[in-house]
């Protein structure tokens, strides 16, 4: 059982459940019509079924597509399969003075396996959020706010993306009570693939949801840039050649100038005499042509001519054709120089439009990715074995596979069992919370029966899968074929 935040109206101790269209009004201590949601002390509480993931196989042993979209489903009657019990809804025995809620045995490819299934209560946990955008969201180290509370910060930008570090023990319990609760709600929503609005101090307001394009200052980011300005020139120089005399690719990191760039020289392009602002790195590559912003290519540019420092009348010529384009292809203008070598905006010729569109085509869709990171090295291990360090060693030695809701995790090198998991690879609504505040997340440890015995496992608590789950409510979810099947042998750390 885990709690849910649940939006609820209260009157006379009645909570209105909004989990389904019936909108049951639930008195304190009672459950709704479904028996899945209850009113505990005036709060809507999810009485979870335990989630199992199921893999279906054809007679030939390959994976048969399941009801991922039931209406698309061809209706094949599936002959056999395999089931893995996840920690979702399993409950917890924290602080683990007794064995984990489920220690189940099953047989796979002739090998007896044991899975220790629990829900961890993680006060040490955080989120690493990757936002695919070159737009400026705020300075590195800036606070990230949710409902006015600090819940994290902007961290090192990565290729084509801005990164946030959210949550963590300092915001959970190191600040005010409100800061802790807001942090917990924010993390719960992001982990359960729901949208969250965040404000970077001195920067952008963002609407983020795992697996969806980020919305930054009210604009949905559709694509990642194709590369920096210099990379874009390398990719498209040949296609521009003959249709433009100069191409300037505007980018917040490196702005490229075709005629000066090695790619332009290679094609034998004449110098065009158009000098851009910023600091020259190598020929045809410029840093800091403008400030950061939500304009062209992640700069604050809205009129691209503002990044042109000068046009040398001795080198340039009337009639020179100039293309200016951003690194996503979302912004582009075409100019022709007049008698005085001043750029005049002109409709873009079709053969250039094609290449501008191609930049857009080659940009990958912009996404928000949420990785859940947590330490399972503490007392949680005591629910697995009488000798907690035995579990740590077994994970290190690749004898034990760690999963979160059946999804693969990356296990950090170094001490403890510190893991990262992509929430998109986990079943929906896999997370809960406790009022401490701390996040509740599923975690499973799977290993050969003899390895479990060797690490000091609770052999007397091992029960057969069907016996263990006979009396509990179950929810069946299809296994995602992108995930390794948890019972398959591990090959390397993090696999």
């Amino acid at each position: 059982m885990t709690d849910t935040m649940g939006s609820s109206d209260k009157q006379d101790g009645i909570v209105v459940c909004d989990a389904c269209p019936v909108l049951c009004r639930i008195r304190e201590g009672r459950a709704g019509a479904c028996d899945r949601y209850a009113n505990r002390d005036g709060r809507l509480t999810r009485v979870d079924p335990v989630t199992m993931i199921h893999k279906t196989l054809s007679d030939e042993g390959d994976i048969v597509p399941f009801l991922s979209d039931p209406l698309e489903w061809g209706g094949d009657i599936l002959p056999r399969g395999d089931t893995f019990l996840t920690g979702i809804g399993s409950g917890t025995t924290y602080p683990d003075y007794k064995p984990a809620p489920f220690i189940v045995s099953s047989r796979h490819d002739g090998i007896d396996m044991v899975t220790v299934v629990t829900e961890g209560i993680f006060s040490y946990c955080g989120l690493k959020v990757k936002i695919d955008t070159d737009r400026y969201i705020g300075p590195e180290q800036a606070s990230v706010l949710c409902e006015g509370e600090q819940v994290g910060h902007v961290t090192t930008a990565e290729y084509g993306s801005q990164m946030l570090a959210l949550g963590g023990v300092r915001h959970f319990t190191g600040g005010s009570k409100k800061e802790g609760n807001v942090t917990c709600q924010m993390m719960l929503s992001l982990c359960n693939k729901k949208p969250v609005e965040l404000q970077v101090e001195g920067g952008a307001k963002m609407l983020l949801q795992a697996g969806k394009p980020p919305q930054i200052d009210g604009m949905v980011e559709e694509r990642m840039r194709v590369g920096c300005g210099s990379a874009a020139i390398g990719m498209f120089a040949q296609q521009w050649f003959g249709h433009a005399d100069e191409v300037i690719v505007v980018d917040d990191h490196i702005t490229g100038v075709l005629s000066e760039h090695q790619a332009g020289k290679f094609l034998g392009m004449k110098p065009a005499g158009i000098r851009v602002r910023g600091r020259k790195s190598t020929p045809g590559r410029y840093f800091q042509v403008a400030g950061h912003g939500t304009g062209w290519g992640g700069t604050d540019v809205t009129d691209p001519l503002t990044i042109i420092d000068s046009i040398d009348g001795q080198v340039a010529w009337p009639g020179l054709r100039l293309l200016m384009v951003s690194t996503t292809g979302e912004d582009a203008e075409f100019y022709v120089l007049d008698e005085d070598c001043r750029p005049v905006k002109t409709p873009m010729p079709a053969n250039l439009t094609v290449v501008v569109d191609r930049i857009g085509e080659n940009c990958e869709p912009a996404m928000t990715s949420v990785l859940f990171m947590a330490g399972a090295g503490g007392s949680l291990r005591a629910g697995v074995t009488e000798n907690p360090v035995g579990l740590t060693r077994s994970v290190r030695d690749a004898l034990t596979r760690v999963t979160c809701g059946g999804a693969p995790v990356y296990v950090w090198p170094g001490g403890g069992i510190t893991i990262m998991a992509d929430v998109m690879r986990m079943p929906d609504n896999a997370f809960g919370y406790v009022p401490t505040p701390a996040l509740v997340g599923p975690i499973e440890f799977t290993m050969r029966r003899e390895d479990y015995q060797a690490l000091g496992g609770y052999m007397k608590s091992v029960r057969d899968l069907s016996e263990a789950t006979d009396t509990v409510q179950k929810r069946l979810t299809e296994w995602s074929p992108d995930n390794p099947w948890p019972f398959d042998p591990r090959r390397k750390s993090g696999d």
Binding site: V22, L23, G32, D35, L71, D76, N429
Partner: protein, 290 residues
């Protein structure tokens, strides 16, 4: 907050599990592969909108049935099925909600079988079962007299010529409130909605005045209960044999009256391991101890 409908095949690869809010049902069809596949697609498509449709009609469905009730005044067919089943009992206190689970099973079965050639099929909505049988087909159904003990206490077979296409069970242990003290009343009727309403009403009548029975007004437990201030059973302590028999006989009389009026085919009543049966064909369903 929570997701929409959950739709999945069970691990046996044959049964389809459909869950949305309080509706939790298992359906299965037997027949040629393509026909079964098409039937499941039809079932899934119908399931997606069934609950939201019903929700809009809940306020009226919670009102007691009187002579003026017009089933056709409801917009959606599931509500009409509930109203039709409840209307047949309008001499007693009854609301269409008494048949909600059965009506949902009937509605889904109808959608699943429409235009399909199936040997047999069923939609089991938490124990309220709608069945479809082709010529020569039959279903054997287990009788569970207490939810704490899923081992069937008896079995009975429904064959195609019998005028039975619905089986429903009601009692004080289920999710719905009961005015009575029956552990389980199982009714066989022409469809699941009729069986559900009848089982609810017979279970209400398995009753006796006794200090061991704790009752509370329904609306104290659920503010939206269709039973309003009526006293529903919340606990039953030890009953003496005479009180138990009196409660069962009261329920049996109600069941027999329904049978004579042609509203049900038969019923099995269970309380504390003791049984009563209405309907000749059903006696063999019970263990010798009955």
């Amino acid at each position: 907050m929570a997701g929409g409908p959950q739709i999945a095949m069970l691990p046996d690869g044959k049964r389809l599990h459909l869950q949305y809010g309080p509706t939790d049902m298992i359906v299965e069809a037997d027949g040629e592969h393509d026909e079964v596949a098409a039937a499941y697609r039809q079932a899934i498509a119908r399931f997606r909108t069934l609950l939201p449709e019903l929700v809009g009609e809940l306020p009226r469905l919670r009102l007691p049935v009187d002579g003026d009730l017009e089933p056709d005044s409801f917009r959606w067919s599931t509500a009409r099925r509930m109203a039709e089943a409840a209307r047949l009992h309008r001499g007693s206190f009854v609301t269409p909600m008494a048949g909600v689970a059965g009506a949902v099973a009937d509605e889904l079965l109808a959608a699943m079988t429409e235009g399909r050639r199936l040997e047999r099929a069923y939609a089991n909505n938490g124990g309220d079962i709608a069945i479809h049988l082709s010529d020569g087909a039959e279903f054997t159904i287990g009788l569970v007299d207490h939810p704490g003990n899923p081992e069937p206490a008896g079995r009975f077979t429904i064959a195609q010529p019998m005028p039975v296409r619905g089986v429903a069970t009601s009692g004080r242990h289920g999710r719905s409130f009961s005015l009575g003290i029956a552990d389980a009343v199982t009714v066989l009727a022409r469809n699941a909605a009729s069986a559900d309403v009848a089982a609810t009403l017979v279970a209400n009548r398995v009753n006796v005045d006794h200090p061991a029975i704790e009752r509370r007004p329904a609306q104290e437990l659920d503010p939206d209960s269709d039973l309003g201030p009526m006293p529903v059973t919340v606990a039953v302590d030890a009953l003496d044999g005479a009180s138990r028999d009196a409660a069962l006989d009261s329920g049996l009389a109600a069941a027999q009256a329904m049978r004579e009026a042609g509203l049900i085919y038969g019923a099995v009543l269970a309380l504390d391991g003791t049984y009563r049966v209405a309907g000749q064909g059903l006696a063999g369903a019970l263990p010798a101890a009955a």
